[in-house]
């Protein structure tokens, strides 16, 4: 493996340096039918799950075929996407905010060969490479974070929990039988680098044990003031600790009852790991949305305080999600989102319909706003 220089000179990093050029200009990447009709679209229609048509005032039409994509994607897979786009779409494609891939063609007769091609491609184990769907009143792709593939503070895996969930919910990716769209999102720790807090259903990794303290190495590996300052709840303070050999070292002390398990201290200080096979697991949240349609956007609420990590397929978690979706499908009115449904029937009824136990963990006790989430009326149901 010989090192090949790009032209960069480490001795003179500023030599010929190009900076601050930003992303490529979006117009370079518009397919002609988009370029010609931008701002002129009249209406759209979903022709079948995963296939949309947009009609322009110029009379042009663009047909979009949406396929689910793993957000974790190899260059071999991207090259195959490119091969498909070259074959059917004159070399253009786009991605959606929710990690779907969209192939666009400019006439209806090109749709079926494209869909057939996409659905015919399978992986060795039988999984679809490019499942068509994710539109309308169904379940679209799950947005997620890195998890164990790349992150240093996850409480669960990202890609694994998502694969397990989408296998269970696959029919609803391919269909549009639900009262409205159901957006499922996944974040692998409470820092939520993927903001999942306004999703119909949110899968959240959660630690439940405060960090372990590697006293012997603390002062060698970490700058103690930085570890102390990293804690959002001020649970960490400097201390002196006597080791087994009698020597005294500088370290830290954690007030465990104040720990919210965020892992920020571990980011600053590798001598404070908090991951744990038993302590870590999943929190499920439900009833959030970002759309302003009919009702205001709302936050997801915690509906299951803890589910253990069950690798590789997290069956307790996927069963619970399935139960929520089925109860919602059976009970909600057309156009009603999960959160709107739960509010209409009452959260007490939501837990009953979804067969989820209500435990004290679900009562908010975090800072001032908690009070306003408690029931302050006699309008409730038996």
């Amino acid at each position: 493996m010989a090192f090949i220089s790009s032209g960069y000179n480490p001795g003179k990093p500023m030599e010929n340096r190009i900076t601050d050029i930003g992303p490529r200009h979006f117009e370079e990447f518009y397919p002609p039918v988009i370029k010609n009709n931008k701002g002129k679209w009249l209406y759209h229609e979903i022709l079948e799950p995963g296939v949309l048509v947009h009609v322009s005032e110029t009379g042009d039409e663009v047909y979009t075929v949406r396929v689910g994509g793993c957000r974790l994607m190899s260059v071999s897979h991207i090259r195959e996407i490119c091969e498909i786009a070259d074959k059917h779409c004159d070399g253009y494609l786009r991605f959606t905010t929710r990690n779907n891939i969209e192939f666009m063609v400019d006439s209806k007769d090109k749709v079926k060969p494209l869909v057939d091609d996409l659905m015919s491609r399978k992986q060795a184990g039988g999984c679809y490479k490019f499942p068509v769907g994710g539109t309308g009143a169904g379940i679209t792709n799950i947005v997620h974070t890195q998890g164990w593939i790349h992150c240093h503070t996850p409480a669960t895996d990202g890609s694994g929990t998502v694969k397990a969930t989408l296998d269970v919910m696959f029919d609803d990716f391919r269909n549009m039988r639900l009262p409205a769209q159901v957006r499922i999102s996944m974040a692998c720790c409470l820092n939520m680098c993927g903001a999942v807090h306004c999703s119909d259903i949110a899968i959240l990794g959660y630690h439940r044990k405060p960090p372990m303290l590697d006293h012997e190495y603390m002062d060698k590996m970490c700058e103690i003031p930085l570890a102390v300052a990293a804690c959002p709840t001020a649970a960490i303070k400097p201390s002196k600790v006597k080791l087994a050999d009698g020597s005294e070292v500088k370290s830290v002390e954690v007030r465990n009852e104040r720990c919210m398990f965020c892992g920020n201290c571990y980011t600053m200080c590798p001598s404070m790991p908090l991951a744990d096979d038993v302590g870590d697991g999943i929190v499920l949240m439900a009833g959030g949305k970002v759309s302003n349609r009919i009702s205001a956007p709302k936050f997801s609420k915690v509906v299951v305080g803890f589910i253990p990590n069950e690798m590789p397929r997290w069956p307790t978690m996927t069963d619970t999600i399935k139960r929520i979706v089925e109860a919602y499908a059976a009970g909600a009115r057309k156009y009603e989102r999960v959160g709107d449904w739960a509010e209409r029937i009452g959260w007490e009824r939501f837990f009953e319909k979804c067969e989820i136990d209500f435990t004290h963990h679900l009562i908010d006790d975090f800072r001032d706003p908690a009070y306003f989430t408690w029931r302050q009326t006699t309008n409730f149901k038996f």
């Binding site: 930003g22 229609e45 689910g68 039988g126 549009m176 903001a195």
Partner: protein, 438 residues
């Protein structure tokens, strides 16, 4: 024969949803065969070691990655996230495994030519594993060694006319919805504004000087497909101020069952015949519509732009023609003090290049305020909470407006300023005592 046994991960190779495990194995195989004779600049078996370390996490229920904060490219404070494996002897291929964020084009449209050039670069100088895309919107290059960071950046900037994205206490790479490029609902050109602000504020994006992260997101309409209202410090949401355009013939066609409602989104179940009274008029949150004698009427003055009727009958109803956007500030995920939605700070502003009003009366004064007053790791929304919406309005100069609140305050504890009270606060106690005994 795989380098590491992965019995747990192998169970994720079945089912119907695409398997990321199969995909990584495919990349591992491609690198092992190396049919294109690529001179790999990081270990050829990186993907096998990645699977190995992931399998170990599935077995242990714990991550095997450590954070690294020093790595980056020279002169930039963001765009690279350092990672080291905590079992480097067992998995040498991923001992260093840093992420690079590559600034995505607005709208996420691509040509295959561009994507292939990105693949060529990342296959040679990195793991060949990506995220398309990360949560914020960037193209993510997942895993390379420290010496390759500058090389990747040099090739991106010199050969692909492409820059890195943001991380840390920076402006994060802005992102937008598909907008007017392919959506009839979009009230402004999200791509144009996203691209313009991304380029205008490159210094803020690459050289961190903010108290914490800062996000712009652009939604063309109140459906909020990029979730700007929930996750961006400054959210731009397209709106119209005039009248919803109605095609009465198309309304009749919906009523007559000739066009499927909601763009066909409910086709998977028999919901019965479309009932305009129940499904549109009855669900209108402001009750500003009626359908009588085959004619739809909207009292537009009372419309609150929820999009329901337009979503339900896209061929009959269109957004108005006096278009622009609303701006909301302060949204964030729950860490630390709880989640916050964006708060309306500008009810309506025209979105026209070069966007001077947006930049000079909103963005820049807010940044100056936050940079001076924000505590370390305090998001804009937390500063707003601490100092009040009034303070933000003083900064931007926008007049207080009843639209900016859900409801007026329920406590009367108004912190009056001296200049708001006739005569000020300086009073003569002796004059007072003439009429009031001690």
């Amino acid at each position: 024969m795989a380098k590491h046994e992965t019995p747990l991960l192998d169970q994720l190779e079945t089912g119907q949803w695409p398997s990321f495990v199969t995909d990584i194995k495919r990349e591992a195989e491609s690198r092992a065969k190396n049919e294109r004779n690529i001179e790999y600049q990081i270990p050829a078996d990186v993907c096998e070691d990645l699977l190995g370390v992931l399998e170990l996490s599935f077995k242990h229920g714990r991550t095997h990655w450590k954070h690294g904060g020093i790595v980056g490219v020279f002169g930039y404070g963001g765009g690279v996230i350092g990672r080291y494996c905590d079992q480097p002897e067992q998995f040498p291929g991923v001992a260093h495994f840093h992420t690079m964020r590559v600034s995505q084009p607005a709208g996420k449209f691509y040509t295959t030519k561009y994507l292939e050039s990105i693949c060529d670069l990342w296959e040679r100088r990195g793991s060949g594993i990506t995220n398309m895309h990360g949560s914020t919107g960037d193209i993510i290059f997942l895993g390379t060694t420290t010496p390759q960071l500058e090389e990747v950046f040099y090739e991106l900037s010199h050969n692909l006319n492409q820059d890195l994205g943001g991380s840390g206490s920076n402006l994060r790479t802005p992102s937008d919805c598909v907008g007017q490029a392919r959506c009839e609902f979009a009230c402004f050109d999200t791509q144009a504004l996203c691209h313009d602000l991304t380029n205008e504020y490159q210094d803020e994006l690459h050289r961190p000087a903010f108290p914490y992260k800062f996000k712009f997101k652009f939604d063309g309409c109140p459906n909020c497909c990029v979730a700007s209202i929930a996750r961006s410090d400054l959210s731009f949401i397209g709106l119209w101020r005039d009248e919803i355009r109605i095609d009465q013939e198309a309304v009749k066609a919906y009523v007559g069952g000739e066009i499927p409602p909601n763009g066909g989104a409910h086709a998977g179940r028999d919901w019965g015949a479309f009932d305009i009274q129940k499904e549109v008029i009855g669900l209108c949150p402001t009750e500003c519509m009626r359908y009588e004698n085959g004619k739809l009427e909207i009292n537009n003055k009372e419309c609150n732009h929820c999009m329901h009727c337009i979503n339900a009958m896209p061929r009959a109803l269109r957004v108005g023609e006096d278009r622009g956007c609303a701006m909301l500030a302060g949204a964030k995920a729950p860490i630390l003090d709880g989640a916050q939605m964006g708060t309306l700070i500008v009810p309506f502003i025209k979105v026209e290049p070069p966007y001077t009003e947006i930049k000079e009366t909103v963005i820049e004064p807010i940044w100056d305020w936050w940079m001076e007053e924000g505590k370390n790791r305090e998001r804009l929304g937390e500063l707003m909470k601490r100092q009040g919406l009034q303070r933000l309005l003083e900064v931007t100069g926008f007049a207080p407006d009843a639209r900016m609140v859900q409801e007026p305050r329920t406590n009367p504890y108004i912190f009056w300023k001296e200049d708001e009270v006739d005569g000020g606060w300086e009073r003569d106690i002796n004059e007072f005592r003439k009429h009031h005994q001690r």
